[in-house]
Amino acid sequence: MMQRLLLLFLLLCTACDLRAVNLVAPPEIAPAADGAMTLRWKLDSTAGGRVRFGLAQDRLDQSASDGVGTEHTFTLRGLKPGTKYFYSIGTARRELTTGSFIAGGDAAAKSGPPSQTDAPAPSQKKSLLQKITGLASKPVSTPVPPVVRDAPATRKTWGNIGSLPDHFARHGADFSAKSEDDYAAQSWRFRERAVAEHLPMKLDTDGTVRVFDPKTRAFASFNHDGTTKTYFRPESAGYWQRQPGRAIQTPPWISQ
């Protein structure tokens, strides 16, 4: 009898596990005050929430948990602004999805709606909280739009500010930029998208990072600190192949 009861108990446990909890939509992420980031997700049935995060995908050394429910919200504090973090979210027992984000800091400041001339059209209307790119989004198979945040002030994103009028005059039309600030902001968003979407990047020995999107044919060159040198759409075939540098995954302004 005792053995039967034990078997039944084990069967029930397995059944519970099979009736897996799932995300109903990709998680949402948004910058919060003081450089913190908020992660929020919704489950299709009640379960506890758990987030693990860190500076590398295989080193998620910080974690937090909350109580049982279908909606879970975590505010991650003490992040280094501009730094790429990897995360995994799920229940206490199961990982539901993984991904990465770049910590906000200044970047969280809002300055009007960003124009998205270069980025692919977002497939979903965004709320205040933006969707983040899942590295391995298990429950959702449709592609998730990239991080879209408002750009910081132009003087912080453009390398040699005195040169901006000349670059805008020459290349602004490539992206239908409305102003120097809009052009600089677009280049900054291209930089963010390049990281989120793993666009081809090359690092030169002088620290210059060149980025190219083969789909939109947008090209940008960034200083070692991530500020923009130029942003334009090359006309000639093979332009990207002609650029020197070592292929990289993570640019130097994102400390690993």
């Binding site: 000349d166 020995t205 130029t230 002609r242 020197p244």
Partner: protein, 311 residues
């Protein structure tokens, strides 16, 4: 630190127009409006064509920012104009030894030197000593892609070279062949043979149709042999052979020659001759003989195996 625009001679660029490895700075010259890394790499505009256009337009300041006080476009331009009849000379291995001495000799003569070598430190030094119209890039001739990029860019900015000098080479430490580490063997084959082949493959298409001379550095060990340098001998014999065959393939107006430079007191010689190297001429002495000899080569020399006079 400020840098000179090779198109108009403006001396206050904030970055070198090309990184040491040859990447465009993306800087738009405020004086002539040429964007380094875009006008050349994307639009295919040569320095000379952009310069002429700027001159035709009255040498006007192109930036929205204000020109410096006492800006003198004609004066700045004079500093970067190649002299009339100057030859464009692509020279590999210009950072040390014979190549460095040739770079010094040719620049002093007013020729335009397009040099390369692996050492970024030495390339930076050459750049600060010899500004535009000369051009120095850090690259490994054994890296076919890097040579391709270099040749493509130079052909756009400076035009095809009149003289291509394949001087870069290495020698493995003295040892019988079976004791030479495999990495040394590969490096010697890759630099001395593949490196020479790479520059020929990437420069010749642009040189064809307008004439020019390709000089492949051989050696006494490209025509004779000694123990302990077998792999070096193999590469220099290969250079002689490939030059002969290439000479038969080249279109009219182009020439390929194999050149034994003689024996010169360089790091390479010290590696194989030891302290005995000091008894041989120094590279700058040698360049006084080799430089004029190289400049005098013509299409008629096609296929010859030559020696630098006095070698």
């Amino acid at each position: 630190m400020s840098y000179t625009c090779p198109v108009c001679g403006f001396q206050k660029l904030t970055e070198p127009p090309r990184s040491l490895t040859g990447g465009g700075s993306s800087e738009i010259c405020p004086s002539c409006g040429y964007q380094h890394g875009v006008d050349d790499d994307d639009k295919g505009r040569s320095h000379a064509a952009a310069r002429d256009e700027w001159k035709r337009g009255g040498m006007k300041w192109q930036s929205k920012s204000a020109p410096p006080k006492n800006w003198k476009p004609a004066e700045q331009l004079a500093a970067v104009l190649p002299r009339d009849g100057a030859k464009v000379i692509a020279l590999t291995g210009c950072t040390r030894g014979c190549g460095r001495a040739l770079a010094e000799f040719f620049t002093a003569q007013g020729q335009v030197v397009i040099g390369c070598g692996r050492s970024e430190k030495h390339i930076a030094e050459l750049r600060s000593k010899f500004g535009p119209p000369h051009d120095f890039t850090a690259l490994d001739v054994a890296d076919d892609e890097a040579v391709h990029r270099w040749a493509e860019r130079i052909t756009v900015t400076h035009g095809a070279p009149d003289l291509l000098i394949n001087n870069a080479a290495v020698i493995a430490p003295n040892a019988p062949l079976w004791k030479v580490p495999v990495a040394e063997i590969s490096a010697t084959l890759n630099v001395n043979i593949a490196g020479t082949v790479n520059t020929i493959r990437h420069f010749v298409p642009a040189m064809a149709g307008r004439g020019g001379v390709i000089v492949n550095f051989s050696s006494g060990w490209g025509r004779g042999t000694s123990p302990d340098v077998a792999i070096y001998c193999a590469t220099k014999w290969a250079v002689e052979g490939l030059t002969q065959a290439l000479a038969q393939e080249l279109p009219h107006g182009l020439a390929a020659v194999a050149l034994n430079p003689g024996i010169i007191d360089t790091e390479m010689l010290r590696s194989c001759f030891g302290s005995g190297a000091v008894n041989h001429p120094k590279p700058d002495e040698w360049a006084e003989r080799a430089g004029p000899f190289l400049l005098a080569l013509t299409a008629k020399d096609n296929g010859r195996s030559l020696d630098v006079p006095g070698a």
